[in-house]
Symmetry: C2
Subunit: 495 residues, 2 copies
């Protein structure tokens, strides 16, 4: 699919060094300049109009309305990170004044965030805009003050090129050093490895499969100087359906969940691949309705042949596991079309067979039927780290299953109540992350302005003369940033 | 020296499982309860009086005044983390309210920090109190809501035991589950490995050598589920002596720096092992005075035989490197005594020979003489990640060397102006960390209340009913925590 030539391996050194050179200048620019760049990128993306939509549609087979929404999200993301960047809260500034009369005298200490250096970004195939070339990793790295090298995703090379050109125009128009953003192609394993292991690469952002993310993580940690990798990888996003709610709302619930399972042909990292419930009449009603809804969903084309093949293979493997009952089997339609799948297994079998816990990327979900509350809790306690867990329950259920909910907070990055996991808001309060293997570092988010923190670190200035301080730390607070000064939040001068 | 038996390897599983069990309960306790525990530990340490001092003096040979200061620091640290823990700012709470009329409706999102799980702590030999059993790693892990397993440092097993017993008394008196803190011995390699690689271990805190910290980091990353390691390792803490200041203040400067180099027999992670200056008359005066001051310093005993041996070996190796001139050679005194060392090398040689960049743990420093400003900047650009860098300069110097100072922020965690690096304040604005190889994760600090963040991660509650929310996130804000609510800082009710 990719007609763009791979970068020759002997040019990677030049690319990373160029990024590093540009970083030397970019990192010193004021926050407002970074915000201007992010807004200029947003404007350039907007200005491309339908050309960018058409390229993405051709390469990903995603329908136009979905692509319009994703494009709007990508533009909003750039604008919201621009706002956050200039506002400066993300720098988590703390100032403790000198106490010259203490014995020994206490120095003046002022702490803020500075960028790490060149960030290598590997985008996702399933979000050609929002998690790709001009997506969240690029936006947050630029907001942090880092330079960026994007390796284009081979599944949408043209879409990626158009985004890169838009960014390059924005860089040029805003007078930012050109090397701050670079875009390269490289389908080979070795390109990724050399980028991640180059001595001047400082961090990695990745969205994709477990095997891809884990490989980058290992390469980064095997360097003489390891660097942080934020890889957002697989997740099965379990939904726990509690008994009273199931009894009362079986039909509505089935409709909601069917819509979430099949949204975007199931090609979301927050797709609910696991449903957990106690055997009951309500569950029977729910299941019948779920099967009906899944059957009625008009099947659509998947992103590319590789994803379709993997979906059909993995969903077939799942059906053949011992104890697995199939209510609806995934089938191949014309071209890249694939239909949804519903399988079922008893909790005992699920607990015994780890292969049932694996992600099937696509519109498939596995219903785990528990004999009782204890089994439900055992299932909750055995699931691996997730981006999200969800609970559907009445007030009565939630009261009764309070400890289950508490347990689930330790399994995921986001806990939903009576709502489906698909749909991730670009907000500071969002957390799109979670314990391994959902991501390689549970302490950071890939979405929302706190994503900037992945690519920054604190520096403390001790006894720095006022005129040598960066504006962010000056006593008169010219940028009016909210700072913690001697333990109190203030956005004015230290006075 | 260690007369306590190693833990049998087959008991490690039980210890970690016990920690994990206790964590299940401890993590649900309110912040104020964690603060009560930390204060109770501080009180128990205080109550031990001279017994604890005596044990530490016998095991570490550190003089009593130094130990009294370190004890006070350790107690202050526990109290200040207790305060920070209960205040809750460290949880970085963010709330974005629902917008039900938006299309699609925006959910209610509330984000806070939760603890990671059992933390394995490996203390330092050079700080038997403040960076050891009841030190910063233990205090911050407990504040985060984690359970703790300390592997006692083999160089001060009795001091460690007394601290552990004090913590255990505090745990008992405050009604905290006993397994929240456990203390074990294990000189063998395998004990550390099994602790770090146990499936239920969640994070690692370490202070010590590069080889020790890097080994733990590698073990943690080789797990099927990698876990974060915060290892504070070596640092040579370069000091840049700028020309005008050298000219004006050579004598005073030499006195200050000699005191910093020899403080605690040079056994500080912030010990200045490198001095960088341009050849000048001022430098000659400085050097003569420095030699005089170092000679006059009364030599003292080092921590233990291993450290003394390593110091004498490494300082001898340094003297034998090509181009190294010796002004004062380290010598062995009676028992564990060792004298200080001053060597010198031309910048060209320093730039060419990486072995000269290595830490010599003890009262030794290497003077790098530059021919001109360009060489000084080259030296600054080639040094590895450091805990601290320091600059001594007049106003005129600092104005002239502004880009040097900016460059140094990207080499270290703390940049000092006209002050020596030894001495680390326990304050929120402190940053005791730095780029690899100073630490394994530049994004976190080992000292100051932000150290808590090493052992916590965000969780986001989506559409959570009010009565199911933890107190930290409730709309009426019963804990009066400063939270970001719809983009504004508030410590009251959402009202």
């Amino acid at each position: 699919m990719n007609t763009f030539p791979d970068i020759p391996l002997n040019q990677i050194d030049e690319v990373v060094n160029r990024s590093w050179q540009a970083f030397q200048e970019y990192r010193t620019l004021p926050l407002v300049k970074r915000a201007v760049l992010l807004r200029a990128i947003a404007a350039e993306l907007e200005d491309m109009g339908d050309a960018w939509l058409q390229a993405a549609h051709e390469e990903t087979h995603l329908p136009e309305p979905r692509l319009r929404t994703e494009r709007a999200r990508t533009i909003f993301q750039l604008e919201s990170y621009a706002l956050a960047c200039a506002k400066g809260d993300w720098m988590r500034i703390s100032i403790d004044s000198a106490l010259p009369d203490r014995n020994p005298p206490r120095p003046d200490l002022r702490k803020m965030m500075i960028p790490l250096g060149p960030v290598i970004v590997f985008g996702a195939s399933n979000f050609p805009y929002a998690y790709s070339t001009a997506g969240g990793d690029t936006a947050s790295a630029l907001a942090a003050g880092c330079s960026v090298i994007v390796k284009a995703h081979p599944a949408h090379p043209q879409t990626s090129m158009l985004a890169a050109q838009a960014i390059e125009r924005a860089v040029q128009k805003t007078g930012i050093p050109a090397g701050v953003f670079q875009h390269i192609y490289g389908a080979s394993f070795e390109v990724g490895k050399q980028l991640v292991q180059h001595p001047r690469s400082a961090a990695v952002g990745f969205t994709g499969s477990f095997s891809g993310g884990k490989q980058l993580f290992d390469w980064a940690n095997q360097r003489p100087h390891p660097i942080p990798v934020f890889a957002e990888m697989g997740s099965i996003n379990p939904i726990f359906l509690l008994p009273d709610h199931l009894q009362q709302q079986a039909t509505v619930l089935a409709e909601k969940i069917a819509a979430s399972v099949t949204l975007g042909v199931g090609q979301f990292c927050t797709n609910p691949g696991l449903l957990v419930a106690i055997a009951s009449e309500g569950l029977e009603v729910f299941r019948s309705k779920l099967i009906e809804c899944l059957r009625q969903t008009v099947p659509a084309e998947m992103l590319h042949g590789g994803i379709q093949r993997a979906y059909l293979e993995k969903s077939a493997q799942l059906r053949e596991q011992p104890g697995v009952e199939t209510h609806l089997a995934a089938t191949q339609g014309p071209a890249l079309v694939a239909t949804s799948q519903l399988t079922q297994v008893q909790a005992k079998q699920f607990l015994a067979d780890r292969s049932l816990h694996q992600e099937v990327f696509g519109p498939a979900t596995l219903l785990v039927v528990c004999a009782n509350t204890d089994e439900l809790k055992e299932v909750a306690a055995c699931i691996e780290g997730q981006l999200t867990c969800s609970v559907f329950g009445s007030d009565q259920d939630l009261h009764q299953y309070r400890t289950l909910c508490e347990e689930l907070t330790h399994r995921c990055g986001r806990l939903n109540f009576n709502s489906v996991p698909t749909g991730v808001e670009v907000l500071q309060s969002s957390h799109h992350g979670g314990p391994f293997p959902a991501t390689t570092d549970a302490r950071f988010t890939a979405v929302g302005s706190d994503a900037i923190l992945r690519f920054a670190r604190p520096i403390c200035y001790q006894n720095c003369p006022e005129e040598m301080l960066p504006d962010e730390l000056k006593s008169d607070n010219p940028l009016q940033i909210w700072r913690k000064v001697n333990g109190e939040w203030r956005n004015g001068s230290m006075g």
